[in-house]
Amino acid sequence: MMKAAVITFPGSNCDRDLATAFEQAGAEVARVWHKDTSLPEGTDIVGIPGGFSYGDYLRCGAIAARAPIGKAVVAHAGRGGHVLGICNGFQVLVEMGILPGALLRNARLKYICRTVGLKVETSASAFTAGYAVGAKLQVPIAHHDGNYMADPETLSRLEGEGRVAFRYLDNPNGSMKDIAGILSENRRVLGMMPHPERAISPLQGSADGRAMFDGLMSAFAPA
């Protein structure tokens, strides 16, 4: 069974949603506090939730990336462990240096909270295996700093290696190349601004995020 660890920082506000999304898919979920210095034994995947960790002080995700639990997350990713960072979690991953680039203030300087269209760009990862390439999804976004940027070299690497996981159909925030989510080189770390954990039931207006969590479950199913 997949063991997920969901981290809570002061100011996280999607940690329960993320834990619920993992649980609904059948995962065993441990909740981890930012002051913890290690992950539970046997953690398969770390979930870094959305929210406003440490009040977004200094830069979004900057303080969380250096929190006591941070070293354990970097070590987990370094061992080839899976990490899913959503929204503020994506900002934390780029601040940790686990994913390349940076997330700047939205181009039109507005906080945007609405459901957007996404296109699945690759199914070659445990996160996206449950989707067909080219599939169009409806997933909510809720962020002020989701404007993805990277230097031209990094961008062409991401494109060349098929590491753009999701693209916006109608770019809401100015992200380069309409990028909504990217994968690490080993394809085991995904950072994305949209919230798949807020789209796991028709009651939420969309269940298009569900396939991500179900896909992860299959990836960790005993052979």
């Binding site: 601040e95 390349p100 203030r105």
Partner: protein, 79 residues
């Protein structure tokens, strides 16, 4: 030792906040504002009394936390 750290977006990085300020200045009637860039200034009060060591420490603070060197540059000066 007291230092001031200036953190600015690198020159190639679009600064939409600076742009918004430039537009607002224009609407107040200030003409000829070619560009506005917004950054942060951070004051540090360090116990270290050796200037070279203190400045070196301030630089390491910038590299590790105060600036995101992917998008920002920094400058340390005595306050």
């Amino acid at each position: 030792m007291k230092y001031r750290v200036f953190v600015m977006l690198k020159s190639g990085v679009l600064d939409p906040q600076g742009e918004a300020i430039r537009h607002a200045l224009g609407s107040l009637g200030f003409e000829g504002v070619n560009a506005v860039r917004q950054g942060k200034m951070i004051e540090l009060d360090l116990a270290e009394t050796d200037a070279a060591k203190a400045e070196e420490a301030a630089r390491r603070m910038c590299e590790q936390l105060l600036a995101n060197t992917v998008i920002e540059s920094y400058r340390v000066e005595p306050a």
